[in-house]
C-alpha cells in the first residue's frame, strides 16, 4: 500500500484527544490486531462472559424494587391468590416485580435463565480447557482463576435463588444452615453469626442480598477481568493444523473481523436467553408461595448447578457417622455437603500441577491437545463427569423413582453403586476409544482416508481406494505429541549401574508408577510417514518404546 489511509476527521479528533493524554497509538494498534483463533469451542467462554453481563444489567434492574427484608407482612397486593397470606417483605416485593412492574416478570426470568446459562457455559468452557490441556503452562494460574469463578458463581447463584424467600428457596437456605451446623466445634457459632440468631431469624435475606448484589459480584467481576486480561496477554491456545505452531497463534484479528462476530454472538446469546425467558417459565414463585419452615412439597428441585450436592446428600448414608466424647462427627453431612465441593474444586485446581509433576514437562504449551492424544487425562475427565453426572441424577432420584415406578430406596442403592462403578467403566471405555482413534489416525496418516470408492483388482479382489488426506489433515495428525515423563528417565540406572537416588524414595517410586500409568498406553507414531502405506516398526504400540 503506497498511500497512507487516514481516519475521518471526527474520529481523528477523538483519537488525538486520547493519544495526547495517554500515548496509546501503538498499544492501541497492537490490541486491535490481536488474533483470535477460530473454533466453535472458543465461544464457550464468550457465552459465560455475555451472560455475566446480562446478569449485571438485569440484576441492577431488579434491585430497583426488590426489598431484602424479612419483616413479616400480610400480603395485600395485586396477585389475588395470595392476598391475606403472611409473608416476608422480600417475597411480597418479588410478587410486586412480577405483577405490578411491567416487564418485571420478564427481567426476573432473564436474570434466572442467564444464571443457569452462565453456570452451564462455565462448566462446558472448563471442560473444553481440561480436555485440550489448555490449563498447562503458562496458563495454570488462569485455570485456577477459572475454578474460583466457577465456585463463586455457584455460591452467587445459590444466594440469588434464596432472595425471593419462596418455599423452595427457603428450603435451600435451611439445607445450607443444616450443613453449616454439622461442622465440628464451630458449626453452631457460624450459623448463629450468619443468621443473626436461630434459623431463620430476621437477617439472613438482608445479608445474602448484600453478598449477592455487592460483594460476590465485585469479586467475580475482578476475577473475570483478570481472566480475560491474562488470556489477552498470553493469547489463546490453538488447535493443531497447517501453519499452526507453538510459536505463533493464527486466527482472525480483533478488528474488524472478531469484533463484529463477537458482537453478533453477544446478541445471539442474549436472544436465546430472552426467548427462553419469554416462553419457558422457571421459578414461578407465585405458585410456590412464601417460605414457612414447617411445610414442604415433595419433588422439589434446586437449580441445576446445585443438583450434584443435593444428590450427594441423598446418597451418603449415616453408617460412617461416629461420636467422640459424645460429640457427633457427622460424615453423612460433612462429606457430601462440604467434602464434595472441596473435592471438586480441589481436584480441578490441583490438576495442572499434578499432571506437570507426573510428566515433569516444564515447557510452555500453546498448542491444544486433541483429547485422544492424551488418553489418560481424557479418561480421567470423563470419569469425573460420570461421578458428577451420577450425583446430579441422584439429586432427582425421587422424580426418577416416580417416573420409572421403581422403589425410592432401590434408586438410592443403585446410585451408590454407580458412583463407584460408573467412573471406572467410563475411564476404561474412554481410554479405549482414545487409543482406537489414535490407531485410526495412524492408519489415515499412512494410507490416506477411505474414499468410499471400491475398486476391483486384476486378481478379482475388491479393495477400497484410499485417497491422500489434505495437507491440513496431515498437519493435524502429525502434531500428535509423544507423551513421556522425566520420571521414566530417572528410572534408568546410570552407566555405573547406580540407581538415581530420587527415584528410590517412596515419593519417587509413586511418581514413577503414576508416570508409567500416565504414559504406557499410547499408539506410537514413531517413524510413520504420511502416505507411505507402511511404517517402520509395527510393534511400536507401546510408550515404552520411546523411553530408550
Amino acid at each position: 500500500m503506497s498511500k497512507t489511509t487516514q481516519a475521518p476527521k471526527a474520529l481523528r479528533g477523538v483519537g488525538n484527544f486520547i493519544d495526547d493524554r495517554f500515548h496509546l497509538a501503538k498499544t492501541g494498534e497492537k490490541n486491535l490486531r490481536k488474533v483470535f483463533p477460530n473454533h466453535w469451542s472458543f465461544m464457550l467462554g464468550e457465552i459465560a462472559l455475555y451472560s455475566f453481563i446480562i446478569l449485571l444489567v438485569t440484576g441492577v434492574f431488579l434491585t430497583l424494587w426488590f426489598k431484602p427484608s424479612m419483616v413479616e407482612v400480610v400480603y395485600d397486593g395485586s396477585y389475588e391468590r395470595l392476598q391475606g397470606v403472611p409473608m416476608s417483605e422480600a417475597f411480597a416485593s418479588t410478587l410486586y416485580i412480577d405483577f405490578d412492574v411491567r416487564g418485571g416478570f420478564l427481567v426476573r426470568q432473564i436474570h434466572h435463565w442467564a444464571a443457569l446459562i452462565f453456570l452451564a457455559s462455565l462448566v462446558v468452557h472448563m471442560l473444553r480447557n481440561f480436555f485440550t490441556g489448555a490449563f498447562r503452562k503458562p496458563r495454570e494460574l488462569n485455570w485456577i482463576i477459572g475454578v474460583l469463578i466457577f465456585a463463586l458463581a455457584i455460591v452467587e447463584g445459590l444466594f440469588g435463588y434464596s432472595l425471593p424467600d419462596d418455599l423452595p428457596s427457603g428450603m435451600g437456605v435451611r439445607i445450607l444452615q443444616g450443613v453449616m451446623l454439622s461442622i465440628p466445634l464451630v458449626g453452631s457459632y457460624i450459623s448463629m453469626f450468619l443468621f443473626g440468631g436461630e434459623f431463620p431469624g430476621e437477617d439472613i435475606i438482608t445479608r445474602l442480598y448484600m453478598l449477592h448484589v455487592l460483594l460476590i459480584p465485585a469479586i467475580l467481576l475482578a476475577l473475570i477481568v483478570a481472566h480475560v486480561f491474562i488470556v489477552w496477554i498470553q493469547k489463546h491456545t490453538q488447535y493443531p493444523g497447517q501453519g499452526r505452531s507453538e510459536k505463533a497463534v493464527v486466527g482472525t484479528p480483533m478488528f474488524p473481523g472478531f469484533a463484529v462476530k463477537a458482537g453478533g454472538f453477544f446478541f445471539f446469546t442474549f436472544a436465546v436467553i430472552a426467548g427462553l425467558s419469554a416462553f419457558v417459565q422457571i421459578n414461578p414463585i407465585h405458585l410456590f408461595g412464601p417460605f414457612t419452615p414447617t411445610s414442604i412439597t415433595s419433588g422439589l428441585q434446586p437449580d441445576w448447578y446445585m443438583g450434584f450436592l443435593e444428590g450427594s446428600l441423598r446418597l451418603f448414608p449415616n453408617t460412617l457417622d461416629f461420636q467422640i466424647f459424645g460429640y457427633p462427627i457427622l460424615t453423612s453431612v460433612l462429606v457430601p455437603g462440604l467434602g464434595a465441593m472441596g473435592l471438586l474444586f480441589g481436584a480441578l485446581g490441583a490438576w495442572p500441577f499434578i499432571e506437570q509433576w507426573i510428566t515433569g514437562d516444564k515447557a510452555a504449551k500453546n498448542m491444544a491437545d486433541r483429547p485422544r492424544n492424551a488418553p489418560v487425562r481424557t479418561a480421567l475427565g470423563v470419569a469425573g463427569i460420570t461421578v458428577y453426572g451420577v450425583l446430579w441424577l441422584a439429586g432427582s432420584n425421587d422424580v426418577l423413582s416416580e417416573t420409572f415406578s421403581i422403589s425410592l430406596y432401590l434408586t438410592t442403592y443403585i446410585f451408590r453403586v454407580l458412583v463407584f462403578v460408573g467412573p471406572v467403566v467410563a475411564f476404561i471405555v474412554t481410554k479405549r476409544i482414545c487409543l482406537g482413534l489414535q490407531r485410526r489416525d495412524r492408519e489415515t496418516l499412512e494410507h490416506g482416508y477411505e474414499s468410499g470408492t471400491v475398486q476391483q483388482l486384476p486378481s478379482g479382489e475388491f479393495i477400497e481406494v484410499h485417497k491422500e488426506s489434505s495437507e491440513d489433515t496431515v498437519a493435524v495428525l502429525e502434531s500428535k505429541p509423544v507423551i513421556t515423563s522425566t520420571a521414566l528417565e530417572e528410572d534408568a540406572t546410570d552407566e555405573k549401574g547406580v540407581e538415581n537416588p530420587a527415584a528410590r524414595k517412596p515419593m519417587g517410586k509413586f511418581r514413577r508408577a503414576l508416570a508409567h500409568w500416565y504414559t504406557k498406553d499410547n499408539v506410537s507414531f514413531d517413524g510413520v510417514q504420511a502416505h507411505t502405506g507402511h511404517h517402520l516398526h509395527h510393534s511400536a504400540d507401546h510408550g515404552d518404546d520411546k523411553a530408550h
Binding site: K3, R33, K235, F279, P293, R314
Partner: protein, 376 residues
C-alpha cells in the same frame, strides 16, 4: 477497496467522509480480479486476505439489512407491548396472572426478535461482506532474558537493603507486630453479627400444659381428632399468641417446635418405645405417648427440612429432601437415609378439658444435628 473509501491522504478535505454516512461505493462494481492476491485489499498482507466478491457482498448487505429491519420492528414491538397492558386497570392488566403471562410472552418475544435480528445481521455482515483471512501473531516468549532477570533482582535487593528493612530486624518485627491486631480487627468486628449459641438451640417454648394448634390455624386439638383424620397424622404448633407475628408465633419458634402428631394402634409399638427417652432417664418413649398418640419433631435431624410425609400403613415418616426415613412406631429411629439420629420426641397428655397438651420440652434439641447437641 480502500481506494473507494475517500479517506486517504490524497483526497481533498472537502471529500472527507463523516462517520456513519454511507460510502459512495455502492455503485462501483469491483468484481474481485483474478490477481486480487497481489493487490492490497485490507490492513493485512494481500496474501492473507480473501475478499468477498461484489455479488456476494451486495447480497450480504441486503440480507443483513433485512435482519436489521426485523430487529428494528422487534424493538418497536417491545416498546408497544410495554404499554399494551397497564399494571392495574379495569381491563386486562398484568396483575392478572394470565395477562401477566401474555405480557411476558409479548415483551420477551419481541425482545428476542430484536436481539436475534441484530445478531443475525452482524453475522451475515461478517460472513458476506468482510474479507476472510487469518493472520499469525507470535506468542510472547514468557520467561524474561537472564540479564533482565538478574538486573531486576539486583535492583530489588539493593533497594531493599537501602531501605534498611533487611538490616534492621527490630524495626521489621515491630512493624509486623503492629499490623497483626489490625488484621484481626475486622474479624472481631463481626462478633455482633449474632449471639453465641449457648443453650438457644436446646430449648423450645413447649412447656407442661401447653395446648397445641393445628398448623396454620388457631384450633386446639383433641385426641379424637386423630381418630378421624384420614392421614392419621396432624402437623401442630404450640398454642402461642405472640402479638407481633401474623401467625401468633415467630418463624424461629415454628422452625424448632413444629411437631407431627401420629396415632397408631397400641399393638404396633415396637421395642424401641420401651427404651428411656434420654440416657439415664426413667421415662420411656412409651410413657411420653398418650393413648396411641405420639408427638415427634417434624424437623429432620439431617439438615432440617420438614419430614412431612407419613405413610400410615408402615408408620414411616419420610423426609422429602434426602429421604431419611424414620419409624414412628419405634421411637422415630432412622431406618434409611442420611439422618444421624431419631426425631426428638415431645411428651404429651391431655388437660382437664380433654385437649392435647405438651408435658414438657423435647428429649433432645430439634432440627439439624450439631456438634454440641447431646451436651447440657
Amino acid at each position: 477497496m480502500t481506494e473507494n473509501n475517500n479517506n486517504d491522504n490524497t483526497g481533498d478535505g472537502a471529500n472527507q467522509r463523516v462517520v456513519g454516512t454511507p460510502t459512495d461505493t455502492a455503485d462501483v462494481v469491483t468484481e474481485v480480479p483474478a490477481g486480487a492476491e497481489s493487490e492490497h485489499n485490507g490492513p493485512y498482507l494481500a496474501s492473507e486476505t480473501h475478499p468477498r466478491g461484489e455479488e456476494q457482498q451486495r447480497r450480504g448487505e441486503k440480507i443483513a439489512s433485512l435482519w436489521f429491519i426485523l430487529a428494528f420492528l422487534g424493538g418497536i414491538g417491545f416498546i408497544v407491548s410495554y404499554f399494551l397492558f397497564p399494571p392495574t386497570a379495569e381491563g386486562p392488566a398484568i396483575a392478572d396472572p394470565q395477562i401477566s403471562q401474555y405480557s411476558n410472552m409479548l415483551l420477551g418475544g419481541t425482545l428476542t426478535v430484536a436481539l436475534f435480528g441484530i445478531g443475525a445481521g452482524m453475522t451475515v455482515w461478517a460472513r458476506n461482506i468482510m474479507p476472510h483471512y487469518e493472520v499469525a501473531s507470535p506468542y510472547d516468549e514468557m520467561p524474561s532474558k537472564e540479564e533482565e532477570k538478574s538486573s531486576f533482582s539486583d535492583f530489588f535487593m539493593k533497594s531493599a537493603d537501602e531501605s534498611g528493612i533487611t538490616k534492621r530486624p527490630l524495626m521489621r518485627r515491630t512493624l509486623i507486630a503492629a499490623m497483626l491486631p489490625l488484621g484481626i480487627a475486622p474479624i472481631v468486628l463481626l462478633r455482633d453479627t449474632g449471639p453465641v449459641p449457648g443453650d438457644l438451640m436446646k430449648h423450645t417454648r413447649w412447656a407442661d400444659g401447653m395446648r397445641m394448634y393445628v398448623e396454620g390455624t388457631h384450633r386446639y386439638i383433641r385426641a379424637e381428632d386423630l381418630e378421624n383424620d384420614p392421614y392419621g397424622m396432624i402437623s401442630a404448633l404450640p398454642a402461642l399468641n405472640d402479638e407481633e407475628y401474623p401467625h401468633g408465633i415467630s418463624l424461629n419458634d415454628q422452625a424448632k417446635s413444629v411437631i407431627l402428631l401420629i396415632k397408631m394402634p397400641e399393638d404396633d409399638w415396637k421395642d424401641g418405645m420401651d427404651s428411656p427417652v434420654r440416657e439415664g432417664s426413667d421415662e420411656t418413649h412409651l410413657n411420653w405417648t398418650h393413648q396411641g398418640i405420639v408427638a415427634y419433631s417434624k424437623i429432620c435431624t439431617h439438615v432440617g427440612c420438614p419430614a412431612a410425609l407419613y405413610e400410615r400403613t408402615t408408620h414411616r415418616i419420610l423426609c422429602p429432601c434426602h429421604q431419611s426415613t424414620f419409624d414412628a412406631a419405634d421411637a422415630a429411629k432412622v431406618v434409611f437415609g442420611p439422618a444421624h439420629r431419631a426425631l426428638p420426641q415431645l411428651p404429651i397428655g391431655v388437660d382437664d378439658e380433654g385437649y392435647l397438651v405438651a408435658r414438657g420440652d423435647f428429649n433432645e434439641p430439634t432440627g439439624p444435628t450439631f456438634w454440641e447437641y447431646a451436651k447440657d
